[in-house]
């Protein structure tokens, strides 16, 4: 092999699909058939996963922390709700995209406020934007329904064919399809030179600029894209629950998101997906056992996760899958272990 083709081979190393990834998506799909009574919670997890993936794009790749990602989720949610409520766009998929674009516009507009400053500043500015939007939504209750939220949303069938059912089956597969498509898209992007340049900016913005990377423009681009993703997640939320109320903007939503991503690990796209599963399952488990004090146990788990160390936990959790894959494929660790975070 010549040095050049060698370089090409290694440069594409990460972009190639691993067996573990195929397995992951097959398992997810299988869940849709194995647990027909749990569509709701599974849909909830998918939405959260998509939302977390959106945050991962800016946090895990570009190193932009945000405590106000719910702003875009909320705009997407209300946009989808309003579109359906007033019958402006009845076809869910089209409405989904339009709602995503609405969030994207906001993302672009606010990106200029966010690219400046240190982590703490970014956290607070993003948080402030989300809180302001929440307050605005409350104030303009003639449009948003105020604290009561949008009432009476009725979703039309997807592509005019598949209606949303009460058990959430259509909603689940719809969400899964959206998540998968957007995942593929994100995966493509992060393995492009553009995606790599984001990691470079996260690592060292000074050097990034000094090799000719237009740092601000790249950050604006990814922030805008992430807003689009979050908007889609929000729109999915409204479409699958037929609810849009003020708490789509809530601080808790953004904060939970951060927890999800930190649990799952940042910067490898699957972190949000894994984190969403773990976080929601724990919540579900604990709140079934003790509806009053489940927060205590969630808290304890978070504390333990940090003290034991995420790396170590991942190694334990992925021990068996890796062992199996090693047997089958004869390769070293195949399921990715995330790199450290910002």
């Amino acid at each position: 092999m010549t040095a050049s083709s060698d370089v090409g081979f290694h440069a594409q190393r990460q972009a190639r699909w691993h067996y573990g990834e195929f397995a992951f998506w097959l398992v997810v799909l299988a869940c849709g058939f194995l647990f027909p009574t749990r569509y709701l919670i599974m849909t909830d997890i998918l939405r959260l996963a998509l939302f977390a993936m959106s945050l991962d794009l800016i946090l895990g790749y570009a190193g932009i922390v945000s405590l106000g990602h719910a702003a875009f989720f909320g705009v997407g949610a209300y946009a989808a709700g309003l579109l359906a409520l007033h019958g402006i766009i009845n076809e869910p998929v089209l409405a989904l995209i339009v709602a995503g674009l609405a969030a994207m516009v906001l993302g672009f507009a606010t990106s200029f406020l966010v690219i400046r400053g240190v982590d703490l500043t970014r956290l607070m500015v993003t948080l402030g934007i989300a809180l302001l939007l929440e307050a605005l939504a409350e104030r303009f209750s003639n449009i948003t329904g105020g604290t009561d939220g949008l009432q009476g949303i009725e979703m039309q069938p997807i592509f005019g064919e598949i209606p949303f059912d009460m058990f959430g089956k259509a909603g689940f597969f719809y969400s899964l399809a959206v998540l998968f498509v957007l995942f593929l898209f994100a995966r493509r992007i992060v393995h492009s030179p553009f995606g790599l340049s984001l990691r470079a900016i996260k690592n060292n913005p000074l050097r990034a600029a000094a090799i000719g990377i237009p740092v601000n423009r790249r950050l604006i681009a990814i922030y805008t894209l992430a807003a689009f993703y979050a908007g889609i997640a929000g729109a999915l939320f409204t479409q699958t629950t037929a609810i849009a109320s003020l708490d789509v903007f809530a601080f808790e939503r953004s904060a939970d998101l951060m927890l999800v991503l930190v649990i799952g690990g940042t910067g490898y796209l699957y972190g949000g997906l894994v984190g969403a599963v773990v976080f929601r399952m724990l919540q579900e488990l604990f709140s079934t056992i003790t509806p009053q004090y489940w927060q205590f146990w969630i808290g304890l788990v978070l504390v333990v996760i940090v003290l034991v160390g995420r790396q170590r936990l991942h190694r334990w959790v992925l021990y068996v899958p890796n062992l199996v894959i090693k047997q089958v494929a004869g390769r070293k660790s195949v399921v990715a272990v995330p790199e450290s975070d910002a």
Partner: protein, 251 residues
């Protein structure tokens, strides 16, 4: 001779401190120019202004005759002005392959590609391979940068700057932390650049400076003290008094 890089009446203050004083420097195309001066004379600050990391209070910066003082950092790089840092500025989590790959991609204008995967352009790959080989980094190209030995990191620092195919290269103490035995390797690499590439070197190792430079500027307290060919600077009593001391210099 054409002038590659020029400053006109450059001024920079930090608070009350004038770090660059009315500095007018001319660097000819293809020159091997050194900038020396006592600690805190403002050498790094000059480089930072040239590359756009710092904004001068006033004055002009001309790259091949065009004023670049208002351009952001990355645009200057694309115009052919590249640098190394006194303290390594690398991407700890990225590999040398990725680091250099990025620099090459940006230069060729593929940096913004968001759809085409990394490593699928053969022209880029070829260039990366060439640079990795030249800087003895081929064997570690898939290691994370943080885990590399310091010497390799220093090489990478310079390789990245050169990957931008600069027409003017600014080197801020490139030999810092590199053992004596390897210092000359680094300068050898720099020396092997095409003759039309202009190099500005900052360095406190006088052996290196005098074996490398064909012209030397001496900066003291932000102002130009003197400028000339190495022999003349080495003999200058003022330079001896403020900077060189009694050290014997081989010219």
């Amino acid at each position: 001779m054409t002038i590659a890089l020029e400053t006109q009446n450059l001024e920079k203050t930090f608070g009350g401190l004038r770090v660059t004083r009315d500095l007018s420097l001319k660097i000819e195309q293809g020159a091997r120019h050194a900038l020396i001066g006592p600690n805190g004379a403002g050498k790094t600050t000059v480089i930072n202004q040239l590359t756009g990391v710092l904004k001068p209070n006033s004055g002009r910066i001309l790259l091949e005759g065009q004023d670049i003082a208002d351009l952001p950092v990355h645009k200057r790089v694309l115009r052919g002005l590249s640098r190394t840092f006194q303290i390594n500025q690398l991407y700890p989590d990225l590999t040398p392959l990725e680091t250099i790959g990025l620099a090459v991609s940006e230069r060729l204008g593929h940096g913004g590609d968001w759809w085409r995967r990394m490593g699928t352009r053969s022209d880029v790959n070829g260039e990366i391979a060439e640079l990795l080989t030249r800087f003895h980094l081929l064997d570690v190209m898939n290691e994370q940068t943080v885990t590399l030995p310091y010497g390799k990191q220093r090489l990478l620092e310079i390789a990245v700057a050169i990957a931008a195919k600069p027409r003017v290269l600014l080197l801020d103490e490139p030999a810092a932390g590199v053992p004596e035995s390897e210092r000359h390797d680094i300068l050898a690499v720099v020396g092997s650049l095409p003759r039309d590439v202009t190099v500005l070197l900052i360095e406190h190792d006088m052996d290196l400076v005098f074996s490398f430079a064909d012209r030397i500027s001496v900066l003291v307290s932000g102002a130009l003290l003197t400028e000339g060919p190495p022999e003349q600077v080495a003999r200058d009593p003022q330079v001896k008094a403020v900077y060189l001391g009694e050290e014997a210099v081989n010219v």
